[in-house]
């Protein structure tokens, strides 16, 4: 009973956290699902967003400028992975690992130190909520609205001629090429957009908790993937709208489940193992049922 009480008490905080990670999950969904490019870069672009945002804030810039700088840095990280893939002809997974490893050093360089405290600096919450900036529910409302806007923007984008061509790249390379779609260019944009979202998540996390650390968001890729898979099990992935709702719904449910597990005595240090096993099981389940794997690879 005590454990349940502890869990219920944490529901709002967990919800706030999950909405931040929802941006990372959206950013993971785009390369994995839209482009069929298993991109691991977000493990590096998420802390990159936090570090860039913190460094720019600490330099005295406006929070919007700092957040925009984080988004731009994430976009560039995604582009880097795409360019390594195209020009060095390196396997998609390896490209992501190369870039995220490099980003660890870059993140420390950006901050000039392994972490930056942000107490006393303005942030987007203060900007939008004024005196109510420390109220968890107001922060939840703000991030919920932001997530809804992001989904709407992506929904619109993926249904334009450009967005449909991008989906074609993920659905069939041969078809996309034969129909004149520049696969390299669309992959570049897709990975850029995905990692821009991951970096946005990182910058919001830094601003929400008041500090940035180079190790922040460790494991965000697998958590995000777990959220995407869980979300798809709940809302499906047959339409563009469902594809976009899945990461958000999945992140919300995933972090509540994790919070409950922790309240009922799961060792926090065992969490990564449990998540990894969960993702593995969810990946293998369709294969056991004779269907194709949910993480598609390009030929």
């Amino acid at each position: 009973m005590e454990a349940l009480g502890a869990f219920v008490h944490l529901v709002p905080v967990t919800l706030l956290q999950s909405l931040i990670y929802a941006f990372a999950a959206l950013g993971i969904m785009i390369p994995f699902r839209v482009l069929a490019f298993p991109d691991l870069t977000s493990e590096g672009s998420f802390p990159l967003g936090a570090c860039v945002c913190a460094a720019v804030l600490a330099a005295g810039a406006h929070p919007i400028v700092a957040t925009a700088a984080a988004v731009a840095a994430g976009f560039a990280a995604g582009c880097a992975t795409a360019l390594v893939h195209q020009h060095a002809r390196v396997n998609t997974l390896l490209c992501g690992i190369l870039v995220l490893t490099a980003l660890y050093s870059i993140n420390i360089r950006v901050m000039g130190q392994p972490n930056i405290p942000l107490f006393g600096f303005a942030n987007v919450f203060e900007l939008a909520l004024g005196a109510g900036k420390d109220d968890t529910w107001r922060r939840i409302a703000l991030l919920g609205a932001l997530a809804a806007c992001a989904c709407l923007a992506l929904w619109w984008l993926l249904r334009t001629e450009i967005g449909t061509a991008m989906r074609a790249v993920g659905a069939s390379l041969a078809m996309a090429r034969a129909q004149g779609v520049d696969v390299g260019l669309y992959t570049l944009w897709g990975l850029g957009i995905g990692n821009a979202f991951a970096a946005l998540g990182g910058s919001l996390l830094a601003q929400n908790q008041g500090f940035a650390d180079v190790n922040l968001g460790f494991g965000v890729l697998i958590n995000g993937l777990a959220a995407v898979i869980l979300g798809e099990a709940i809302v499906g992935a047959q339409t563009v709208a469902r594809l976009l709702a899945a990461p958000v719904v999945g992140a919300i449910v995933y972090y509540q489940v994790v919070s409950m597990a922790l309240a009922f005595g799961l060792q926090p240090s065992d969490l990564k193992l449990v998540t990894a096993v969960f993702v593995l099981v969810m990946l293998l389940l369709p294969a056991v049922r004779g269907r194709s794997l949910p993480v598609r690879m390009r030929e």
């Binding site: 069939s172 078809m175 004149g180």
Partner: protein, 259 residues
């Protein structure tokens, strides 16, 4: 108008696996010509079509479309002029997308893609009219995902995608070979109808001798990377399956079986 000059292609040059696939092909296909390409396995038919489409760089020679040298352009840039239907029904259309989404992607082939809704009433009307010609009922299923379609339906869709925006050159590489005879017949009829109506400049590879005799106004036979026979007009019309086999000693089992 498609022109191929001295086209040579070697796969894996300088290695033990070296293969000369094209040995200096010269070919001019006049506007509106429907040329059927036959020849035994490994003769270089697919390589010729793929070279025209721009799948790989060639060692020698040039490809010209309407007088424009496109030899240095990658496949996606040549798609502005060249449309193709593959042998494998899985390749022509994206399975995870709907019929209308596939056609929407194809409809902008060679055009600048815009931040504008891909699907709309106009496009739908265009798709219905186009698909109705195939007699497979696809026009009623615009929102169906392509991976729910049969091989024949997918090939019909691939053909519709190839012609939804008029191509200067249409390449068909055994596009009915993976289908059962009845469906192959339907897709072939649809092919002849759309190619004939629009007067498309077409290269069609086939192993089906009857199709080779019956369709097209020109017949090319390839052998070991060269064009061994080129007949058109009345001479092509006068060809018979027996005559063809006899005259040119087509010893290929596959050809004999299908004839």
């Amino acid at each position: 108008m498609l022109e191929v000059r001295g086209l040579g292609k070697v796969f894996h040059p300088g290695t033990a696996a070296e293969r000369v696939a094209l040995r200096g092909i010269d070919l001019a296909v006049a506007p509106g010509d429907f040329a059927v390409v036959i020849g035994d396995n490994g003769a270089g038919k697919s390589t010729l079509l793929n070279a025209v489409a721009g799948d790989f760089a060639v060692e020698t020679g040039a490809v010209l479309i309407d007088g424009r040298d496109v030899t240095g352009l990658p496949a996606h840039r040549r798609a502005r002029w060249v449309a193709r239907v593959f042998q494998d029904p899985a390749l022509g259309a994206a399975g995870a997308m709907s019929i209308e989404e596939n056609l929407a992607v194809a409809a902008r082939r060679g055009c600048r893609r815009r931040f504008r809704a891909a699907l709309g009433r106009e496009g739908r009307a265009r798709d219905r009219t186009l698909l109705a010609r195939f007699g497979l009922g696809l026009e009623e299923r615009l929102r169906t995902r392509v991976d729910l379609l049969s091989g024949g339906q997918r090939q019909a869709l691939a053909l519709a995608m190839a012609v939804v925006r008029r191509p200067d050159v249409l390449l068909l590489d055994e596009h009915t070979a993976a289908l059962d005879p009845r469906t192959a017949g339907l897709v072939m009829d649809a092919t002849v109808a759309v190619v004939g109506d629009a007067g498309l400049t077409t290269l069609m590879v086939t192993h089906n001798m009857q199709h080779a005799i019956r369709f097209g106004n020109r017949l090319l036979m390839m052998r070991q990377g060269r064009i061994a026979l080129d007949v058109s007009g009345p001479a092509k019309a006068a060809l018979t399956v027996e005559g063809l086999i006899e005259r040119f000693h087509l010893a290929d089992d596959k050809l004999l079986l299908q004839a």
